[in-house]
């Protein structure tokens, strides 16, 4: 492949690609993101390839392994074009039928379709499924249509046209103005306006400047950046090159976690291809603008998602944050002006350039424009990645798109913003999502994790969980974070173990205040958020733990006991056989009893007890009833009596 030397040549080349593609030719796309790999999409891909070979269809059918479609709950997902028939939870054994029925006979296979749980209707097209219907997939939408390893696929959907537009007709000031006008705010957590950040670097003194992609996505339960980088790496790269042009940078870095091997692989391929085509390197598209990108793999440290820590890590040192008297866009990597933006932020840039700031600002709220990708996980029916316009209410996201809580349980809270965020209770479900709206509610946007919790989740335990995570990830440089958090964790752990004391909550509040005021970086400053927000909305749960030694959600292991209701037990032997601690005594027609001294409280009996009996119960805050006497344990069945 020879380099493309001008925007005109790029358009010519694009026409060439499109002319070779027949929109009416059957094309099977299969989700091949990391989440679908876990559900077996590699095996499905192998059987599709085999079927194509066996039937000699390589000329008649296209097969494309795409990035994440978002609906991870139902993966692996297949979409058959041009009819856009959508099949879910595909296994290798379904593949021959898909070929014989759908590809050849053009018939839809009912059993592989999505069934709407409320109407029981089968739905054929992706766009009609509630999970997708209410989304606005501006950034994430192309993921399901292109092979991330193919630059031609990206060009076929108009890729690099924003770069061509920038380099051929816009001055760097114009690019900057457009991004500022769009009011694009950082998608990584802080929500800082990208345009202002860029402007600071642009105006900072010095010849050498850097642009950096932050793909050190570390929030547990959030994986949208990974999916975007895996599924559409060129969109991130294109945004980065445009940003570099705007601030006058010629060197860029992509900092990506080594825990994301597929993202690392796809980014490497994308850079190599972009270099071959002439979108990277010297004299890009004949404009005289030079730009190169390097990949740096993160070695596993949550704090490296923080801007200054990330830059320190890029320099080859331990990723500890620096005080920010001067922001890193002025003095950053190797002391030079450096613009660091998150994956999703960069991916928004080509859209803004192509369609204009006025188009972009029609989505969203007064202060938060555009869309946001959320990772909707936890106790939710439709787990997956969803992209919605800013301003959509939490209720719509969780119930309309997410399909509500599974198992008929009650919604309790939704946790946003990762470990630095907070929990939002049911009464605030009509809150529109936006940077400032979430902050006002005591949480934050963060990078977009949205963990749904139901009545079985203990909010004190959630606060303890996040502090445990942060204590482990604290770099140890400043005292309030290193020592303060450790003490907070100790107190919270005691509370969840029934060793809470009067005054503990007050002490936790004091420690929180110190961390907020005195910690060095955002990790420490925001570390009390999970505690403070759960205390604000669920103080009664804290008090029940401390005063009554009771866990109202029946979740904290040390505060609960399992008990078999002798009136309900049908002596079916299921729990008895499954108990890993052999703590259940009983037998055929003998009511089962849990030996409390042996019980490890793993909860297996509770889970396996057949729903028609529901005889295993959890008890907290009150004594376990004494075991039913030996002589009363025999069950006399009525049918046998006759």
């Amino acid at each position: 492949m020879s380099r493309i030397n001008s925007p005109a040549e790029l358009e010519e080349f694009r026409k060439g690609i499109l002319s070779k593609r027949d929109p009416n030719k059957p094309c099977i796309t299969l989700c091949s993101g990391s989440a679908c790999h876990a559900t077996g999409s590699k095996e499905v891909a192998a059987s599709i390839e085999e079927e194509i070979k066996k039937q000699g269809l390589s000329a008649e059918v296209d097969f494309r392994k795409t990035g994440c479609h978002g609906f991870c709950e139902r993966g692996p997902i297949i979409v058959i074009h041009p009819e856009e028939i959508c099949y879910f939870q595909i296994e290798p054994k379904d593949v021959p039928e898909i070929f014989s029925q759908t590809i050849k006979e053009k018939k839809v296979i009912e059993r592989l379709l999505y069934t709407d749980p409320s109407t029981n209707e089968k739905i054929i097209h992706e766009s009609e499924i509630p999970f997708y219907k209410y989304q606005e997939r501006l950034v994430f939408g192309s993921n399901g249509n292109i092979d991330p390893k193919s630059i031609d696929d990206y060009l076929a959907i108009g890729g690099y046209s924003a770069l061509a537009k920038t380099l051929s007709g816009m001055t760097s000031e114009q690019v900057l103005e457009e991004v500022k006008k769009a009011n694009l705010r950082g998608r990584g957590g802080g929500g800082f306006p990208a345009g202002s950040k860029w402007e600071g670097s642009r105006n900072a003194p010095g010849e050498i400047k850097y642009v950096i992609v932050n793909a050190d996505e570390g929030d547990p339960g959030a994986y949208m950046d990974r999916s975007l980088l895996e599924g559409n790496p060129h969109s991130v790269l294109e945004g980065l090159i445009i940003g570099a042009y705007a601030i006058g940078s010629h060197e860029g870095y992509i900092y990506v976690r080594q825990e994301y091997p597929l993202a690392v692989e796809n980014v490497h391929i994308a850079i190599k291809k972009a270099e071959e085509y002439g979108f990277l390197g010297k004299n890009i598209l004949g404009s005289g603008f030079d730009f190169t990108v390097k990949v740096h793999q993160g070695a596993g440290a949550f704090v490296c998602g923080e801007s200054t820590a990330l830059m320190t890590a890029l320099e080859g040192r331990a990723g500890e944050p620096r005080p920010k008297y001067i922001r890193s866009n002025i003095v950053g990597l190797w002391g030079r002006p450096s613009v660091l933006n998150n994956v999703e932020t960069w991916a928004n840039v080509p859209l803004i350039i192509n369609k204009g700031a006025d188009w972009f600002t029609q989505f969203g709220t007064e202060s938060s424009k555009g869309t946001k990708i959320f990772s909707l996980v936890g106790k939710i029916t439709n787990t997956g990645l969803v992209e919605v316009p800013m301003g959509m209410t939490l209720r719509d996201i969780i119930f309309k798109i997410g399909g509500g809580i599974p198992g008929g349980k009650r919604f309790k809270a939704v946790q946003t913003g990762g470990p630095s965020g907070g929990c939002i209770p049911e009464e605030l479900l009509d809150l529109p999502v936006g940077f400032d709206e979430l902050t006002r509610a005591g949480s934050m946007m963060g990078s977009g994790g949205m963990i749904v919790m139901d009545e079985d989740t203990c909010m004190v335990d959630v606060a303890r969980y996040f502090l445990d995570f942060l204590t482990d990830e604290s770099c140890g440089k400043c005292v309030p974070c290193r020592e303060g958090m450790r003490q907070m964790l100790k107190i919270l752990t005691n509370i969840t173990r029934g060793k809470g004391k009067e005054g503990d909550i007050k002490l936790l509040e004091e420690l929180s205040e110190t961390a907020r005021e005195a910690a060095l970086c955002a990790l420490g400053k925001s570390s009390p958020n999970p505690f403070l927000s759960t205390l604000k909305y669920f103080r009664d749960e804290y008090e029940a733990h401390v005063k009554e030694k009771k866990c109202p959600a029946l979740s904290c292991k040390e505060l609960i006991a399992y008990h078999i209701d002798p009136k309900k037990c049908q002596a079916c032997m299921t729990c008895l056989k499954k108990c890993p601690a052999e703590a259940i005594v009983g037998g055929k027609n003998r009511i089962h009893v849990i030996v409390q001294e042996k019980c490890t409280k793993c909860g297996t009996c509770f889970e396996v007890c057949p729903p028609r009996f529901r005889s295993v119960m959890k008890i907290s805050g009150e004594p376990v009833p004494p075991p039913i006497p030996e002589e009363a344990r025999t069950i006399v069945r009525e049918s046998k009596q006759k």
């Binding site: 990391s34 890029l314 320099e315 990723g319 106790k379 989740t457 995570f469």
Partner: protein, 150 residues
């Protein structure tokens, strides 16, 4: 791992001191742990003090200074898995293997580690053994999975 292979890795990164983390990552991924001799070689070749190499090797989670077992068990304790009961899965695996997170058993059979999110939250709680994902885990299912590994 011999010095020649380490030198090759270092040369690939043009012997720059700033590539220290990348060099260590590559050694770790090939050798599964970082022996003291390897750290010394890296320090010498990159002209970085051994203390700083040690600092890096202990700061980042990807590195191990002790040998790993034949099978690596990763239990996801990300938030989504946590609210779905990952702790109870972890407890059972600890009981079955007799080791705690971060440890390797004396037979070098299993190494156990907790990880903060594997990004397949739809399958939570998730346990990964040697890179293979086992989804929708329950305490009662762990023994079934682990007995397949020798």
């Amino acid at each position: 791992m011999d010095n020649d292979r380490i030198d090759q890795i270092i040369d690939k990164h043009q012997g720059e001191a700033s590539s220290l983390i990348q060099v260590l990552l590559e050694i770790q991924s090939e050798n599964h742990w970082l022996p003291k001799e390897a750290l010394e070689r890296v320090s010498e070749k990159l002209k970085v003090p051994l203390t700083r190499v040690q600092h890096i090797a202990t700061f980042y989670k990807a590195f191990s200074l002790v040998p790993k077992g034949r099978h690596e068990i990763h239990i996801c304790v990300g938030t989504a898995c946590h609210v779905r009961g990952a702790t109870r899965v972890l407890d059972t695996v600890q009981d079955l293997t007799g080791i705690k997170p971060g440890e390797t058993d004396l037979d070098l059979k299993f190494s156990l580690q907790t990880v903060n999110c594997l990004g397949c939250c739809a399958l939570g709680p998730v346990m990964e053994v040697d890179g293979k994902t086992h989804g929708k885990m329950a305490p009662s299912k762990t023994a079934e999975v682990l007995k397949n590994y020798e």
